[in-house]
C-alpha cells in the first residue's frame, strides 16, 4: 500500500514537485491567483506570454464562449519584458515554484533578444526556463506561423538555443498537417521539452449582425472541446521524440490530466479551467495523488506513457 506516492517529475532539467503547471495566458503573472491558491503548491508557473516591447493587444470582443470551449483573440497584450523583470518577477521570488517565461516575437531577432535578456537575469530573478511560443506569425515570411513549418521551427529554436543555456520548452501549434515533423525539428534544434497543444484556430459568427463574434475574426479555441485532439497529438509526439512532453488542452478535471499522463505527458498545463475554478490546479494535483494511492502506483513517472495498446 502506497501512502505517499512520488509526484515529482523532471522537465527539461527543471525539477517540479508535481506535474501540474499553469498554461500561459490563463494565469496572468501569477499574482492574480494568489488570493485563491498557494502558489507554492504548483508544479511550475508558466506566465502570460511576453514580448520584447509592451503589446496593446486586439480590440474587443476578445473572447466568445463556444460549445464546451472558448475562442480568444487577446492579441498577446502584455507589459513587455522589462516591466516583467522589474514589476512582475520580484513578487514570485518568494515562492518555491519554478517560473517559466513564455516568449513570443514577430521576428527571429526579437526571440533572440528576449531569450538573451531573460537568461541574463535568470539567476537573480528566478527564471527557471523558457517556453517558446512558435504559433506567432513570422512577419518576414508572409505572417505564416513559425510552428507550421519544420524548417522555420528549426531556425527559430536553434537561434534561441545558441543564445541561452536556460531550459527550452517549445510549445507546438496543433494547426499543422503533421505535428511529428515539427516536433522532430524542434528537438533537433535543441528543445529540451515540448508542450502541446496551443489553441486551435477557429471563429464564430453572429447571425443577426452577420459579423464575426470576435473583433479579430479568428481566435484560438481552448477548453474541454479540444481535449481529444490534444490527446491524440500528445500521443503522436510522445512516440516520435524522446524528450519530455507537456500535455495541454481542455484539462478541467483530474481524469483529463491522467489521460494526458497515460498518453505520454510527463507534466500537464492547465489553462481555460483556471478561469472557471481558480483552485483547479490544486484540486487536480490532489486528484492525481489519490489516483496513484488507489492504484498502488508509487511514482507518477511510472504512469507516463503507460497506455496499453
Amino acid at each position: 500500500m502506497i501512502n505517499k506516492p512520488n509526484l515529482e517529475v523532471e522537465i527539461a532539467g527543471i525539477k517540479l514537485k508535481n506535474p501540474v503547471m499553469t498554461a500561459s495566458g490563463t494565469f496572468g503573472y501569477g499574482e492574480e491567483f494568489s488570493p485563491f491558491i498557494d502558489l507554492d503548491r504548483l508544479g511550475a508557473m508558466v506566465l502570460k506570454g511576453i514580448t520584447l516591447k509592451p503589446k496593446r493587444g486586439n480590440p474587443p470582443p476578445r473572447i466568445i464562449e463556444t460549445p464546451s470551449g472558448m475562442l480568444n483573440a487577446i492579441g498577446l497584450q502584455n507589459v513587455g519584458v522589462e516591466v516583467l523583470i522589474k514589476e512582475k518577477l520580484p513578487y514570485l521570488k518568494k515562492f518555491n515554484t519554478p517560473v517559466i517565461i513564455n516568449i513570443s516575437g514577430d521576428t527571429i531577432e526579437e526571440y533572440i533578444e528576449l531569450a538573451r535578456r531573460l537568461g541574463e537575469v535568470s539567476k537573480e530573478m528566478g527564471v527557471a526556463g523558457l517556453e517558446v511560443n512558435i504559433s506567432c506569425p513570422n512577419v518576414k515570411n508572409g505572417d505564416m506561423a513559425w510552428g507550421t513549418d519544420a524548417k522555420a521551427t528549426y531556425k527559430i529554436v536553434s537561434s534561441i538555443r545558441k543564445v541561452t543555456t536556460l531550459p527550452l520548452i517549445v510549445k507546438l501549434t496543433p494547426n499543422v498537417t503533421d505535428i511529428k515533423i515539427i516536433a522532430q525539428a524542434a528537438k533537433e534544434a535543441g528543445a529540451d521539452a515540448l508542450s502541446l497543444i496551443n489553441t486551435l484556430v477557429g471563429m464564430a459568427v453572429d447571425i443577426d449582425s452577420r459579423k464575426p463574434k470576435l473583433a479579430n475574426i479568428s481566435g484560438g479555441l481552448s477548453g474541454p472541446a479540444v481535449k481529444p485532439v490534444a490527446l491524440w497529438l500528445v500521443w503522436q509526439v510522445f512516440q516520435t521524440v524522446n524528450i519530455p512532453v507537456i500535455g495541454i488542452g481542455g484539462i478541467i478535471k483530474v481524469e483529463d490530466a491522467l489521460e494526458f499522463i497515460i498518453a505520454g505527458a510527463r507534466a500537464i498545463e492547465i489553462g481555460t479551467a483556471n478561469f472557471i475554478n481558480p483552485n483547479i490546479t490544486i484540486e487536480i494535483t490532489e486528484g492525481i495523488k489519490k489516483y496513484l494511492i488507489k492504484n498502488n502506483i508509487k511514482d507518477v513517472n511510472e504512469l507516463v506513457g503507460s497506455m496499453k495498446i
Binding site: F33, F36, R56, P60, P61, I63, E65, I74, T272, N279
Partner: protein
C-alpha cells in the same frame, strides 16, 4: 482591490420581476461585508461544465445587516437561462465582490443616476448608498416600452425622484433618458455627479451631455468576460492615455473586471 471570495452561497429567493428579468437574493455574509455599489459577482450558472464560463452580474442591492446580496439579471443566453432555472435553496458558486465600484465624492451634494434597460442592475445599491450619505438623488430610467421598465418602485421607496423614458412612449416621456438628463440641466438641476449604466450608445450620449455641462460622469461598462480576476485580459475596453501632444487620441486596453467596471466617462474611447 478588496478580497475576492470564491464560495458557495445559498439562493434565498427568486422572482421574475418583468418578463425574462429575474431578481435573486443570495445569503453571502462575507461577500456582503466587503461589497461596494458598482461591484459584481462572477457566477457559475451551471452545475457541470456547460456553459463553461462564469457570468459576471452586477450586485443590485447590498443588505449588510442580513448578509444578503441581490442580483438582477436578464436572460440573455444559456448561462443566464440556467441561472434563472436554479431553485431556491440551491448553492451557487460565486466569486466576488469584484471590481472598483462607483466613486461617490464626499463633496457631491446632488447625484443623478441613469439606467437603461437591465443597466439599472448596479444602480439600486448606488442609490441606497447615496441616500444614506444624505445626497439629493434623482433617477432616470430608460426602457424600450412600459412593461420593460425595471426598478421604478425600488428607487421610489428610497424617496428619490424618478423619471422614466420609453422608446415608444408607452410610459412617461417618449424618447431617450438622455433627453431627460438634458431637461434636468435646462431646468437648472445640475448634478455634481452623474452615474450611468446601460447600452453603449446611451452611455456615450450621457457622457457627452454631462461633460458639456461640466459634470463628472462615471459609467459602468460590460464586455465578454472569462476569468474575472484580471488574468486573461479578455474583457477590455479602450481607455484614453494622457498625452502631452494631444494631436491624436491615444488609448490603452483596460480590464473591465478589475480596472473597472466603473470608468470615468471622460476617459472612455467610444468606438462607432
Amino acid at each position: 482591490m478588496s478580497f475576492i471570495y470564491n464560495i458557495k452561497v445559498k439562493i434565498l429567493t427568486k422572482e421574475e420581476v418583468v418578463p425574462n428579468i429575474f431578481l435573486v437574493k443570495l445569503l453571502a455574509p462575507s461577500v456582503t461585508q466587503e461589497a461596494l455599489p458598482g461591484q459584481f459577482i462572477h457566477i457559475k450558472c451551471s452545475t457541470d461544465h456547460y456553459p463553461l464560463l462564469r457570468r459576471p452580474l452586477s450586485i443590485h442591492r447590498i443588505d449588510k445587516e442580513k448578509g444578503e446580496i441581490f442580483i438582477l439579471f436578464q436572460i440573455m443566453g444559456e448561462g443566464t437561462k440556467l441561472l434563472a432555472d436554479r431553485t431556491i435553496g440551491d448553492d451557487l458558486d460565486i466569486m466576488g465582490p469584484i471590481g472598483n465600484g462607483f466613486n461617490i465624492y464626499p463633496e457631491s451634494r446632488k447625484i443623478m443616476i441613469i439606467g437603461g434597460g437591465i443597466g439599472v442592475a448596479p444602480l439600486l445599491a448606488l442609490c441606497e448608498e447615496s441616500v444614506r450619505q444624505g445626497k439629493e438623488v434623482r433617477v432616470l430610467i430608460g426602457a424600450l416600452r412600459k412593461e420593460l421598465v425595471i426598478g421604478e418602485e425600488s428607487f421610489k421607496i428610497l424617496g428619490v425622484k424618478v423619471a422614466v423614458a420609453t422608446d415608444d412612449g408607452s410610459y412617461e416621456h417618449k424618447g431617450l433618458v438622455a433627453d431627460l438628463l438634458e431637461g434636468n440641466i435646462r431646468e437648472g438641476w445640475l448634478a455634481d455627479q452623474v452615474f450611468a449604466c446601460g447600452p453603449k450608445l446611451m452611455l456615450k450620449k450621457i457622457v457627452g451631455i454631462s461633460l458639456n455641462a461640466h459634470i463628472n460622469c462615471q459609467v459602468s461598462l460590460e464586455e465578454r468576460m472569462a476569468c474575472g480576476i484580471g488574468a486573461c485580459l479578455g474583457c477590455v475596453c479602450k481607455i484614453k492615455i494622457k498625452d502631452k501632444k494631444e494631436d491624436k487620441i491615444k488609448y490603452e486596453f483596460k480590464r473591465i473586471c478589475v480596472d473597472g467596471p466603473v470608468f470615468e466617462g471622460s476617459e472612455v474611447v467610444w468606438d462607432d
